[in-house]
Symmetry: C2
Subunit: 711 residues, 2 copies
């Protein structure tokens, strides 16, 4: 009897086990501390003793539902794993009983990636098996990315650490907008960015397809749109289909944007009859806000839009269509007597109301073509139906307002990666801030967010370095639990992710040197590279003032080579803080700091030579002087602090003047290490006060020493 019972039990267990992901594979169930590199951080993750070793007999098996999309995902997974480990997986011919990854996927999920796709997955990594369970193929794809990020090595080889993961996204809409209107990007650039999006679990590619500066999608109904509005730089419908399918393979939606009624100069080059002024129009070559706008008063315009958007509704399968709607100042409307007469006749009081009228009619067209409308903040007018989605460049307050009124919304304010702010600044922006006053029901209207890569100053060589790796941190904000907020740890993981993204063909790391070599026409770029590590592009939209250019200008200057979020500056801030906090000894990092400043100082001669023979670098000449001043100020401050000397009475003033000069951008880049040097200089000047303070008081004081500087 007993044996029988046992047998029955075993059978029951065997039947049950495959569906129980938490099958206790690990040697012990004692949770261990483990520093992982996962980004985004999963909603639940625990590590245990044990590992799944990776050898060339590793197998990946889809044990339940599978299809071509999952198999392609597995193939890509294997290829990347091979690339990292140097192993060739035998797969089919591998012997039984060795390590394996079992992908247990329940269902295909949505045929067309959709907002309500179930992206969850679970992982159980034990002694010889990675068990990945997911209700949908997209969930399985998300899980495979996590497995890849878990790849670890020691001197014995590569392995996956024993772990359990239960994961699903916090927000359903996690997007990246790429503006290929201002500067065109070839399909391969978009494809590698889609791969990167999938790697960090983003799920919406917002394709900003039309702008004043370019109409970039083929229209078979109105070929003059792309033929006359794009300089020949547009996507054929075949190419668009290929991109959409490429995205679908990776569980990514493609939301097209046709920005109207403003931002529409390129439409009017071939179709001036749609405009609110007679034209003729030419493709806009500058950055800015321009007057051309569609005429919202004429039935022909709506007929045209009906036909065109109908064509696009067939091409783009996503349920949503973005109609832009931003930054139309209505100046053409003001000057057009027919439009003014129309407004008077209809009782339309102002341009806002006229745009609302336009949106009303547009919405009907979209509804006819079975698309939900999404548009920028401006579309939120009293009459807007509740099924429209608000895309907020204004901020979380505007978004919360919309949510209270019952509108779905997504956030982009705070995620403008074209503004060259450091990752940390984007990372703290939450679509639903911790102190939200929205009810839980209202919070459901906040669908997520989108990083926006506006295209004024990016081309195929530089766009990756503006998107990555910073967007990975935004992806984490949109996927991971709200409590994932450790900035230092984010940066640690971001460095690893950045290297891993390169395997997808991204050029954010490699093209820095390429551009520096081109600027110097030489392979000897070390002095220039050191300078590049100390600067960042100017923030916001100041580049245009500093360095006037058009859409036809080359994107090959020093400002294009340097990247946002200087790692050197970040480390220096930490080092200086710790050095100054080491009062009254001032020993911690002292040698490091001295070496750093000497390296900057000693770089000057070589740098001057490089800059001198490269006219394209003349604009950054003054930076060399600034760096010399900085390094000298830093060295003097160090010496004063360490020798406890009081500086000469005018020393602080003299150094401050130089430092203030050094904070001014040159050639559209700015030295971002000034703050830390200023902190040292101020500390040196204030050191006598330390005698009157407790150590604790001084440590508190240290953090205030950098105030008054640009950063």
């Amino acid at each position: 009897m007993k044996t029988r019972l046992l047998t029955v039990l075993l059978i029951v267990l065997t039947v049950l086990m495959p569906t129980n992901v938490f099958a206790q594979q690990q040697v012990s169930d004692v949770v261990i501390k483990y520093q992982h590199n996962l980004m985004p951080v999963p909603s639940f993750v625990e590590f245990y003793d044990g590992k799944v070793p990776i050898t060339d007999s590793l197998k990946v098996v889809a044990s339940k539902y599978t299809d071509a999309r999952l198999q392609s995902g597995i193939d890509r997974f294997l290829k990347r794993l091979q690339g990292r480990t140097g192993l060739t997986f035998a797969q089919a011919s591998a012997p039984e009983g060795t390590s394996m990854v079992e992908v247990r996927c329940a269902k295909p999920g949505e045929a067309i990636p959709a907002l309500d796709e179930d992206e969850s997955y679970e992982l159980d990594i034990g002694l010889s098996k990675v068990l990945l369970a997911a209700p949908t193929v997209v969930g399985a794809l998300r899980g495979l990315e996590t497995v890849l990020q878990l790849l670890t090595s020691n001197r014995d080889g590569y392995y996956f650490p024993a772990a359990k993961v239960k994961d699903q996204p916090r927000f359903r809409w996690r997007g990246l907008l790429i503006d290929i209107g201002r500067h065109y990007e070839p399909p391969e650039v978009l494809k590698r960015n889609l791969d990167a999006m999938a790697a960090v679990k983003l799920n919406v590619f917002h394709w900003h397809l039309t702008e004043d500066q370019g109409f970039r999608i083929e229209s078979k109904k109105f070929p003059k749109l792309h033929q006359m509005g794009s300089d020949g730089l547009f996507y054929t419908q075949e190419q668009a289909k290929e991109i959409i399918e490429y995205a679908r393979q990776r569980g990514i939606r493609v939301v097209p944007e046709f920005d109207i009624p403003g931002h529409s100069t390129s439409w009017l080059v071939g179709h001036p009859e749609l405009g609110s002024a007679p034209g003729p129009y030419t493709i806009e070559r500058h950055a800015g806000i321009f007057e051309p706008a569609l005429d919202p008063t004429r039935d022909e315009v709506y007929k045209f839009l009906d036909t065109f958007l109908g064509e696009m509704a067939t091409l783009f399968p996503d349920a949503y269509m973005h109609i832009g709607g931003d930054e139309n100042e209505g100046k053409q409307w003001d000057r057009n007597p027919t439009i003014q007469a129309f407004m008077k006749e209809k009782g339309i009081p102002n341009n806002h109301a006229l745009q609302a009228y336009f949106n009303q009619r547009l919405l009907k067209i979209l509804e006819k073509h079975k698309k939900k409308m999404i548009g920028w903040d401006e579309i939120l007018q009293p009459e807007l139906p509740k099924n429209a989605v608000i895309h907020s460049w204004r901020g979380t307050a505007a978004l919360a307002d919309a949510a209270r009124k019952g509108y779905d919304g997504i956030l982009s304010n705070g995620y403008y990666i074209d503004l060259s702010y450091p990752t940390s600044q984007h990372y703290v922006v939450d679509p639903i801030p911790a102190d939200t006053t929205l009810t839980l029901e209202e919070q459901k209207h906040i669908l997520g967010g989108e990083a926006t890569m506006w295209g004024e100053y990016v081309g195929p060589e530089t766009i990756d370095s503006r998107i990555w790796p910073r967007t990975a941190a935004i992806a984490e904000r949109l996927w991971s639990p709200q409590t994932t907020t450790d900035v230092d740890d984010m940066y640690r993981r971001l460095t690893v992710v950045s290297v891993q993204l390169e395997e997808l063909g991204l050029t954010h790391e490699r093209n820095v040197d390429v551009l520096l070599r081109r600027l110097t026409n030489s392979k000897d770029i070390a002095p220039l590279k050191l300078l590049a590590s100390l600067v960042e592009p100017v923030k916001e939209y100041r580049r245009g003032d500093q360095r006037p250019s058009t859409m036809l200008s080359p994107l090959t200057g020093f400002v294009d080579a340097v990247r946002p979020d200087s790692e050197v500056a970040r480390r220096l801030r930490k080092t200086v803080d710790e050095f100054l906090s080491d009062a009254p000894r001032f020993q911690l990092h002292a040698t490091d700091l001295e070496r750093t400043f000497k390296e900057w100082r000693d770089n000057q001669l070589a740098l001057a030579a490089v800059v001198d023979r490269s006219p394209a670098l003349h604009e950054v000449k003054p930076l060399a002087t600034d760096v010399r001043n900085l390094s000298e100020a830093g060295l003097e401050a160090l010496e004063l602090i360490r020798s406890r000397q009081t500086p000469a009475p005018d020393w602080l003033q003299a150094k401050s003047t130089l430092l203030t000069e050094a904070t001014k951008p040159k050639g559209a880049v700015e030295l971002v290490v000034v703050t830390s040097v200023r902190q040292l200089v101020t500390a040196a000047a204030e050191l006598p006060q330390l005698k009157t303070m407790s150590t604790a008081e001084w440590k508190k004081h240290v953090s205030t020493l950098a105030s008054g500087s640009a950063r």
Copy 2:
């Protein structure tokens, strides 16, 4: 009367001048010495005092014949010039009277790029104008590349130096073979390589489209060929057309190769009925020579080839079609009784004769489709008609033989860039060696040559670094006068060209760091990069023995990151030579050498740490030991030489043993700096002899000191 004559003369001169390229624009006609970076070197070039300054008002004007192809070429020229200078050229709106490039092109030239295209051009660069005259659009395109290479700068800005150039190619067939059979390369990889080919004036893209390992062109007649023979990695006919047009735009012919009757495994996967054994066949995954071959005895096979090659003849407009014909050992033929019976019946004595029979029938098919046949050495059989072209992997002697028999031929022996030899070795190979015994008439049969990028060990990430920059030197050999043979100067110019090629998207420089970062999963690659600079991939086909792999293996190892032709090794050879020749003082470069060896030695700890935590790098661990031994040997030898000490009796033996170990490849890479260290070590041991020699004798002796080493 006198005034009148002068006027007439002036009128005559004015009328004549526009057609006279040598219009004496420069301030003085005194030829000056000028170190240019042109590659290939033009057949005639002289420099003068004076320059054409480049500002944003530079204009490029096509003053005579122009068409879409020339305009595109000018647009690309302007874009690259903008990219290098950072300037935005106003073009249309530029004021009159400023600098300009006038392109005076006479005729369109061949509609389809052809062997007899006139590629000549002339340049007259004077005070404010670059005058480029060419009989054809292709000539003008070649000239524009020269103008770009003439771009120079000083602290005042960018300019073109005053110069006169008269240029045309020495050989008409200057090719690059890319084998995408073994490893597929996406269209964008081919496109950037076509751009690079145009930059160094190559004019034939030899597209090796079929191999045992892959059938990579869509056939609408026999879709099973690409569907079953390519793993889905093939070019659609649309893509092929796009590549052909892309090449045509750059004056490059596309010669397709369908390698038969051997090298045809991939054909037989979908069409086993064409084979000489019943099959079934699977795509070959290994490198080597394989047995499958088409059955040359059956009419159905020729019918199939007629249809297929007819389809391809329409797709590829070039006058030539390459049918391979190499490396068929006929083992399947030997074993097939029907084939044996056929041979007996027809009186075909052996497999060579059988292949000749096959070629005869193939030739008729090609003739029917209006294509000239080109094939590897093997096709040269007694019955071969004189209009076939011999492509020689055997060498200049075989080529000369063929020429004597009246066959046109092209050389690839000596240009096998997949063998990882240094540039200098390819550079000295001349399709018509200086000591040729061919008559001038016979020499005309030598059409030129082709660099061959065989695909066993290259993928999209690494192929550029195997082709470039070395192929630029081969391009020079095929274009420039035979007397252009200065190796040092070639290397000087090659370094500049290498950087310039990057603007076309080539990854030969940038991807080194990418692969090293992937291997270490980190951005801290300095110690590994130092090691990489001291090694090269093993030569010839020894990689396969050292590091067994298949076509499905990753190409991400250390051997893939490192490149042929180590610059460090080349410089070290020179430095050591000069140091040892500086007898008896031994001061020249002594400090440099000491610093170099200390840098290697001091790299060991950091290197060991990196290698230790990266299992994919374990294969190169022994190299770290070798480098330590090398650096110590070098330092000891330096010290002995400088202090005039005689080493201990067993010192030379001990060091030699270590050096011999260090010459052995590990992980399919070899330390190429050993020779120079051996030279130092031997010199240190032989120093006592110096006392018995004259300085002149010693200097002569120095060059022999490296003998006995691998390199």
